[in-house]
């Protein structure tokens, strides 16, 4: 119970930090913000790694492998596409 309370505290504080930081993101970057934060939500990958790396051919392991594939698509694709978009927001050399 005490652990749960600590984790809830962490969750609530992180929400506040997120709100503070992200409400200042300009409209022009809202799409990269979505794809970038979405890539961060792929952090589930660390959970998936543990199950995918388990011993034996159990159901749990295979679900873990599947989760790992989905999470990796999310992480790799998310960061790459965000990077691609942000490249376009570079100032042009003539400016």
């Amino acid at each position: 119970m005490e652990l749960l309370l600590q984790l809830v505290t962490l969750f609530v504080l992180a929400m506040f930090i997120g709100r503070e930081i992200l409400s200042k993101v300009p409209q022009t970057l809202h799409t990269p913000l979505m794809s970038g934060s979405n890539a961060i939500s792929g952090i589930t990958i660390v959970g998936a790694l543990v199950y995918a790396g388990m011993d034996g051919g159990s159901l749990v392991k295979w679900i873990g492998v599947f989760a790992l594939i989905a999470a990796t698509i999310n992480v790799v694709g998310g960061f790459m596409v965000t990077g691609r978009m942000l490249e376009m927001f570079k100032k042009r050399p003539t400016d």
Partner: protein, 457 residues
């Protein structure tokens, strides 16, 4: 030092890198390094987990990483900027899927666990997945963008909601967790499908932002299952980001979130009759020739892009037209409404791809007072976001929505394919005003012709 302690320190560093990375998204100048910093945080978390957790059989794991990495990279590289809304929807879905599968593994692994967080995580994750799948299909036009509603929809949805609550309660009353898990998964899949089906095209920015929030909350819920601080912090950050965007989109449409979720608003197109809806008023159509002359002799032109611009893929032509006009001494600015397009920031990405400098894109509040001093407002593929009915017509479904004041410009030129209404299906009285000109045709062709004509002036 125990490996458990080290890994928590690693996760803390990752979380800090995520926050620093996201903070740098506050400006286009720092955003690129921000994305790299957040990526570094992710890499650190993955490498730390690999080294410090007991990974017994790495073969399948490496295969999983490679397959996922390959698919993700391929999708990210090949996507067209106009297809960005559906890609974001797809990635949200994969995130939700991953979170729900991790929670599923945990429930099976630990057996008879009465773990509320685990079931919640399955629920949120699966709803994110199936909801995103429908959003993806709608956005990529693989299914109709119109709201899909059927008789008794809300009774069915209510029944599913009650069954979901019931199945979770059942576990805590001694039911079999594994049976419950499968029932819950099935119900959640249906739930996600049913909440997105009634959402029309015009409301898609809200739903994409909402699914983004859910993908974060799913990760956070999984964090509670695994007692993993990295997941909780990152999930909360993403959840906050998605909620903030959802809220911004709702405010920009003057609609409450629940009104959006009820759906039925804003199909992709319908009612060809709308041109006739206004008795005794006629429209004035114009030619590229006349419009070009008007643009060339203007002092100031504001371009208002909408979803039609994305559909016609006319962003490069628009940029070229703006450059030609600028070279003739015309001041050109872009006015971007927050809900123009199919996701937050859609128009900005599209125009950035066409090399339009981001500092000539203006948000609604920054530019609305400038229409009065503008000679020509060039509206390309936008409609509802410039419809004055939002200001004064209390019976209009978009009443109260903040709009771009294009009607205050000297002349308004609408580039439209035909006389059909906007995505909300509402006729736009501005079409019939004396200072409005309609330039019919495919936006890309029309703008190309404008470029030729302007050069010839």
């Amino acid at each position: 030092m125990s490996s458990e302690l080290i890994i928590n320190v690693v996760y803390l560093i990752s979380a800090i890198l995520f926050i620093v990375g996201l903070k740098r998204l506050q400006s286009p100048v720092t955003a690129r390094t921000g994305n790299r910093i957040a990526g570094l945080g992710m890499l650190l978390a993955v490498v730390g987990t690999l080294f410090l957790r007991q990974i017994l059989t790495p073969a399948e794991m490496i295969a999983g990483l490679m397959i996922g990495g390959f698919i993700g990279a391929l999708m990210a590289r090949r996507v067209k900027m106009t297809a960005m809304p559906e890609l974001v929807a797809a990635f949200n879905g994969f995130g939700g899927l991953a979170s729900s599968l991790v929670a599923t593994s945990e429930i099976i692994q630990s057996g008879a666990d009465q773990n509320l967080a685990a079931f919640l995580s399955v629920f949120i994750g699966v709803v994110t997945f199936s909801g995103s799948l429908i959003a993806f299909l709608k956005l990529s036009a693989k299914m109709t963008g119109n709201p899909i509603q059927f008789f008794g929809q809300y009774i069915v949805l209510g029944g599913i909601t009650l069954s979901i609550i019931g199945s979770i309660t059942w576990v805590f009353l001694g039911g079999d967790p594994i049976t419950c898990l499968w029932i819950l998964t099935g119900l959640s899949l249906l739930f996600g499908v049913l909440i997105v089906l009634p959402i029309g095209g015009a409301d898609m920015p809200v739903i994409v932002a909402f699914l983004n929030a859910l993908s974060g909350l799913a990760a956070a819920a999984t964090g509670f299952v695994l007692n993993n601080t990295a997941l909780i912090i990152s999930g909360a950050l993403v959840g906050a980001s998605g909620i903030m965007l959802t809220n911004t989109m709702c405010v920009a449409m003057n609609r409450k979130f629940w009104q959006v979720m009820i759906g039925g608003f804003g199909g992709d197109s319908n009612d060809e009759e709308s041109g006739k809806l206004v008795d005794g008023k006629t429209i004035t159509s114009t030619t590229p020739d006349d419009t070009a002359i008007m643009l060339s002799y203007a002092r100031k032109v504001i371009i208002v892009p909408g979803y039609g611009l994305a559909v016609a893929q006319a962003q490069h032509q628009v940029r070229e037209l703006a450059e030609v006009l600028e070279s003739m001494g015309v001041e050109v600015k872009y006015a971007v409404h927050p809900v123009a397009g199919r996701m937050p920031g859609h128009m900005n990405v599209l125009l950035a791809e066409a090399n339009v400098p981001y500092d000539s894109l203006y948000e609604m509040d920054e530019i609305n007072h400038e229409f009065e001093s503008t000679d020509v407002a060039l509206v390309i593929g936008a409609n509802d976001v410039v419809n004055p009915a939002a200001r004064h017509d209390k019976s209009s479904p978009i009443y109260g929505m903040p709009i771009l004041n294009v009607d205050q410009a000297g002349t308004v030129v609408f580039l439209k394919r035909s006389m059909r209404p906007g995505y909300s299906g509402i006729p736009n009285l501005l079409f019939f005003e004396p200072n409005t000109r309609m330039l019919f045709g495919d936006a890309k062709d029309s703008v190309s012709e404008l470029i030729t004509e302007v050069k010839a002036v």
